[in-house]
Amino acid sequence: MNKEVLIIGGGPAGLECASTLLMFGYKVFIVEKGSELGGHLRKWDRLFPESISASETLERLLIPSKKAIVFDETEVSSVKLKDGFFDIILSDNTELHVHSVVVATGFKLFPAEKKEEYGYGVYNRVITNADLEASFKNNSRDILQSKRVGFVHCVGSRDEKISNRHCSKVCCVTAVKQACEFKEANPDAEIYCFYMDLRMFGRGYEDLYLKAQNKYGIRFIRGRVSEVAENVDGELVIKAEDTLISRPLKVTLDLLVLMSGMSKNPDNDQLADMLGLDIAEDGFFVQHDPTINSIKSKIKGIFFAGTVTGPKTIPETLNEARSAALAVHKYLSE
């Protein structure tokens, strides 16, 4: 079988889709904007809910996709649909002539500095969930020895003020996972989670939430953080509201972790223009048939995989990637 497929994006969705297509015997190209494959997974330490190793997971995704031809640090410059083929020109001037395209460009982690009141980029001890994963990975003692730690849920998600109305889906359980892992690394730490409501939808998530409370003594405060400042000793002074007791509260912390949510990939608009696809109000791609066939686009031969159509967990992303590969196979077998 000599038919060729282009996958745009080399994160978990792109890799899993590539593996499945290679298994069917297609020739697969992966165009990756970054210098390495793996996307956000490469930066993570462990994955919820079982805290399995992110690097081992990535390795398991990379091995079967090795036969794909990878263009790293490369982007798609133009796309032309002609006689059922896609004529693609890449940013390094490579020309491809493929039968199908899978869009798997993923998401961008919400830039936490946009929520100015939380002081990311201004106060030294305010970090993001991604920064904390890096600290777990590097066993950064400066961070992990913090005694009083706060987690702020929904940073850049469910927030009309910064035009992100959507729920980012994975931040609640990620915060609980990270809080538990922090407590394992530093049993003396006092940990507070500031949440709006906890969306523990997945299997094992509620168990993790109970474990966080019963085993680790993590304190969950229903209310949003209103502002963050530094006191004279460089500690963080957090103002929040506890909506269960209807009172404002102020706590002094050594570390504040902002749970940055999944935002649209900023390349989506340009890519949508090239491919003739639509972008929804939330900035993610519009699926042609979101309930029955979520990987289908409105253009024949173009499919979606992963978080390019909205926030998803890793298992959901991988399942969708396999589904996209099957849809490509079906399309090319017709």
Partner: protein, 338 residues
């Protein structure tokens, strides 16, 4: 503190401030609390910097205090503001500069409301015509007077006689900046530096040699808060707000406070006396309070004006220890004679 993080935010919230030709409107309460500040502003821009700032005796209250105290209908306050704009239009000006933060906030809010509800603007035009036979154009540019001083801060620095520096140690004075709530909290893009890390006063202090203190309650209200003070039963709440701010800034040992709002310098100044009477506590050195200034007063001190000409004898907290620290010359006997 990561100063480059702040600089990034400051660069995101820069606004265009015209160089010259302004229609200037005074503040109701500043003319009573700090009468020299507005006079000084006009002296600096007109006489020192040769700029065109026009004012008229026909200007009235903007209605802002009544608006924020819930005692005036919105359309009435809009018609009052439309009349102010008519005065500007009749005088041939397009740049409108308000001395009062609440007026600035109110004008900003009304212009934004009219942008979203043009039918309301049309109704206000009709109201104004029926009541006064006046017509108005909206300002092409709306500034607060502190925006203008921010814009001119380096020119003022170039004519400075004093710097905000301790003459004995050579170290910059530690300055708390307090921004009026109505400056940028409602419309962050309308204030220099935005709402979270305003730069308008910080820029002045940096230019004039001082160092800004970033303390946890710097965003908190001064204690005026309109209904907090104006309703007698709430005055304890007003005082507790001010107390909270001073407790928060105390560990940083600030030398002085600079403000850009009519109410803030008054409440931060006067409530220190009340806190001393009630709690026996002062926040400056050797039983002194922390002196509180308007930005015009600070500009005046830097430019070498006589402190009593600036009206600093009107302050509750004695300013002399700070004047001595900077090395500003003044006559003790003239304090209440001007």
């Amino acid at each position: 503190m990561i100063i480059n993080g702040k600089k990034k935010i400051w660069s995101d919230y820069q606004k265009e401030i015209p160089d010259d030709h302004y229609f200037y409107v005074r503040s109701c309460i500043r003319q009573n609390f700090f009468p020299a500040s507005e006079k000084l502003f006009l002296e600096i821009v007109r006489d020192r910097l040769n700029l065109d700032f026009y004012e008229t005796e026909h200007h009235t209250t903007c209605g802002g205090i009544a608006y924020h105290s819930d005692t005036i209908p919105q359309e009435t306050v809009m018609t009052i503001v439309a009349r102010q704009f008519a005065l500007m239009s009749e005088a041939g000006y397009k740049n409108y500069v308000a001395s009062c933060i609440t007026s600035f906030g109110l004008y900003t809010e009304i212009l934004d409301t009219w942008y979203h509800y043009p039918e309301l603007e049309a109704k206000i035009k009709e109201n104004l015509w029926k009541t006064t036979r006046r017509e108005f154009n909206k300002p092409e540019y709306l500034a607060h007077a502190s925006d203008v001083v921010y814009k001119l801060r380096d020119k003022i620095a170039s004519q400075a006689k004093y710097k905000l520096v301790n003459k004995d140690t050579g170290k910059p004075l530690k300055v708390v900046e307090h921004i009026g709530c109505h400056y940028s909290k409602m419309f962050p893009s309308k204030g220099v530096g935005g709402a979270e890390y305003p730069y308008v006063l910080t820029g002045m202090i940096e230019s004039w040699g001082g160092e800004i203190v970033d303390y946890p309650e710097r965003r908190h209200c001064c204690g005026f808060g309109f209904r907090q003070y104006m309703i007698r039963a709430n005055r304890g709440y007003s005082l507790s707000n001010t107390y909270k701010k001073f407790e928060s800034m105390e560990p940083f040992h600030p030398d002085m406070i600079i403000t850009n709002c009519p109410g803030c310098p008054y409440f931060l100044d006067r409530w220190q006396y009340v806190i001393k009477e009630m709690e026996g506590k002062t926040y400056g050195k050797e039983g002194q309070g922390i002196p509180v200034f308007t930005y015009e007063e600070v500009a005046g001190l830097v430019l070498g004006y006589d402190p009593w000409y600036l009206g600093l004898q009107m302050h509750q907290i004695d300013v002399e220890p700070l004047l001595d620290k900077i090395g500003i010359k003044y006559s003790k006997t003239d304090k209440y004679l001007l």
